[in-house]
Amino acid sequence: MDLNVIIQLIVSGLALGFVYALVSIEYTIIYNSTGLLNFSHDKFIMIGAYVFAGQFIVSMGVEPWLAVIATILTMFIFGIVVAKGIFNPLRNMTSPIFAVMGTVFLGRILTELARLIWGATPFTVPGFLKGTFQIGEIVVTRVSLIIIVASILILAALQFLLKKTKIGKAMRCVQQNKTAAALMGINVSTNINLTIAISAIICAAIGIMVIPLFTIDLTIASMIGLKGFAAGVIGGFGYLPGAIVGGISIGILENLSTLIIPTLYKDCIAYGLLIIILLIRPSGLLGHKR
């Protein structure tokens, strides 16, 4: 078998893997701080893509770099609003079923809003992050490289935020014990709002980065959303390094699997892996006991 093909598969798998990793981080931080699994997270990503491509690039013709900043700002505000209006009330529900329903319907509302505002016709952003590099015999797409670099930057920034800043420390405090955090003078609700806003920003980043990979439509993120869930569990649920390991291993394995099994079944890898891991090692690859 051609070694170059394998390396190319690994590189593009790594890029997708980072996308899954970001997806699982984006819902893990919400889960850690509110105890809710955000089933509308793929819709957040979709909204991010639409705000960037549909609103700023296509309708308003803004320069891409400016559009990125504008999208991030928009999504920050969006995150705060959603957190105040939906997540904080749902957090106090007696049964997790209600919270699941709440986020599912939030997702539907977002889909409908996107359809009403930007239309249901799929579209693309021509020329955005297109092109390839050639290193020796190996061809790497530009978007893969950008995803890998940008993801590492986002992860580093998040790590810095959580470990070094006061806000981040407060977030970790809220994750571990809300009552104690409140007694320490941390405003738990505000803190959760902020966490969700950060999650929304990561969603926006994912949405922007996957535009060259898929056509932009209302279900752009369904698949990566579900695989992101799988990634989180495979690595170790609720544990950020686990999310990264899980995401990357799914991305690479999935791409390499096309060498052996029909490409059509490539998508089964993530779920098959998920179920196997859950049955033999529910605490995930990194085995982080909580």
Partner: protein, 330 residues
């Protein structure tokens, strides 16, 4: 004394309701309405099943679409490819449901909460991917066409009205059965597992077996519902059985009221029929419906049934706040 009167009122109410359902198609002959009613009946069957595992036992099952797909395709394949009568197909769906319950119930012994919901999502997605891609057996994205209608000993149910009466009969029987199970010791034990699993084990009850039992009820009814769907539409297609469908069934269960048969019926009807009633809103109808459902989830978490049983908690935010206040005083 009061109790007895109430029972009589309840019985009269149920009889009247069934009577209205029997007469309805004679009064309203619009066949589109009949199709929607049939759809509602199918949904009731599936929701009754989901209610056992998620509503009563509290095990988060988000794989209903996959379960239904199993039932729909198995019955459809038995009657198209193997040429058996449809009733055999329905029976096969029930048997498949029974086996599926054993298999799917197994992970629920080790996993709970989020893990279980993700496992069931995984199961559902794998099912969908397989029926999408195994083109030779399932027809791939084209789906299975020309699925025969149900025939009862030679009498073919070829119009939606005829199907309606048959399904209505099935649903009535199932509703009474489900209601009896809920009120029996089994229903109680399911609820007990949801409330406090450690105590259940300390009472000498085999929790593993009970959970699998609840799962099996869910999968049998889910598969039966799927098969009923296939023979009603005469056509199945993998794009029906997405994650959205699973979420819809959860919504039906929740909006009506968790754990009760009337709640399941109300919820299924509401989620199936309300969007049709809102069609006059044209482009906005699905948005409005979703907003209504979200508001229900936040403000009436115990479902519509709770309006009548007095179990509602409308001012819940306020209540949780005072509760917190109380505990800090203690």
């Amino acid at each position: 004394m009061k109790h007895k009167n109430w029972n009589i009122v309840k019985r009269i109410g149920i009889t009247l309701f069934i009577l209205i359902l029997c007469i309805f198609p004679l009064v309203d002959t619009n066949s589109y309405h009949h199709i929607i009613l049939n759809q509602t009946l199918v949904n009731v069957v599936v929701v009754l099943g989901l209610n056992f595992i998620t509503g009563l036992t509290g095990q988060m099952n988000l794989g209903t679409a996959g379960i239904m797909a199993f039932g729909a395709y198995s019955s459809a394949l038995v009657s198209t490819k193997l040429g058996f009568p449809v009733l055999v197909g329905l029976l096969v769906a029930i048997v498949i449901g029974y086996l599926l319950g054993r298999v799917l119930g197994f992970p629920s012994l080790r996993l709970k909460g989020v893990y279980l919901s993700l496992t069931t999502i995984g199961f559902s997605e794998i099912t969908r991917l397989i029926i999408t891609n195994w083109t030779t057996l399932t027809g791939g994205t084209m789906g299975l066409q020309n699925i025969p209608s149900i025939s009862l000993f030679g009498y073919v149910l070829d119009s939606s009205t005829k199907v309606y009466y048959f399904y209505l009969f099935i649903v009535i029987v199932l509703c009474f059965t489900a209601s009896r199970i809920i009120k029996s010791k089994w229903g109680r034990v399911f609820k007990a597992i949801r409330d406090n699993i450690d105590a259940v084990e300390a009472s000498g009850i085999d929790v593993a077996k009970t959970k699998i039992l609840a799962f099996t009820l869910a999968t049998i009814l889910g598969c039966l519902g799927g098969a009923m769907y296939a023979h009603m539409m005469n056509y199945v297609n993998p794009t029906t059985f997405t994650q959205d469908l699973s979420a819809n069934f959860l919504a039906m269960m929740m909006l009506g009221g968790i754990g009760t048969v009337p709640g399941n019926i109300i919820g299924s009807s509401m989620v199936t029929i309300l969007p049709e009633l809102l069609r006059f809103l044209e482009n906005y109808y699905w948005l409005i419906f979703s907003i209504i459902a979200l508001l229900f989830a936040i403000f009436l978490p115990n479902g519509i049934v709770s309006l009548f049983t007095g179990d509602r908690r409308l001012g819940r935010f306020w209540i949780t706040k005072t509760k917190k206040g109380e505990s800090s005083h203690e």
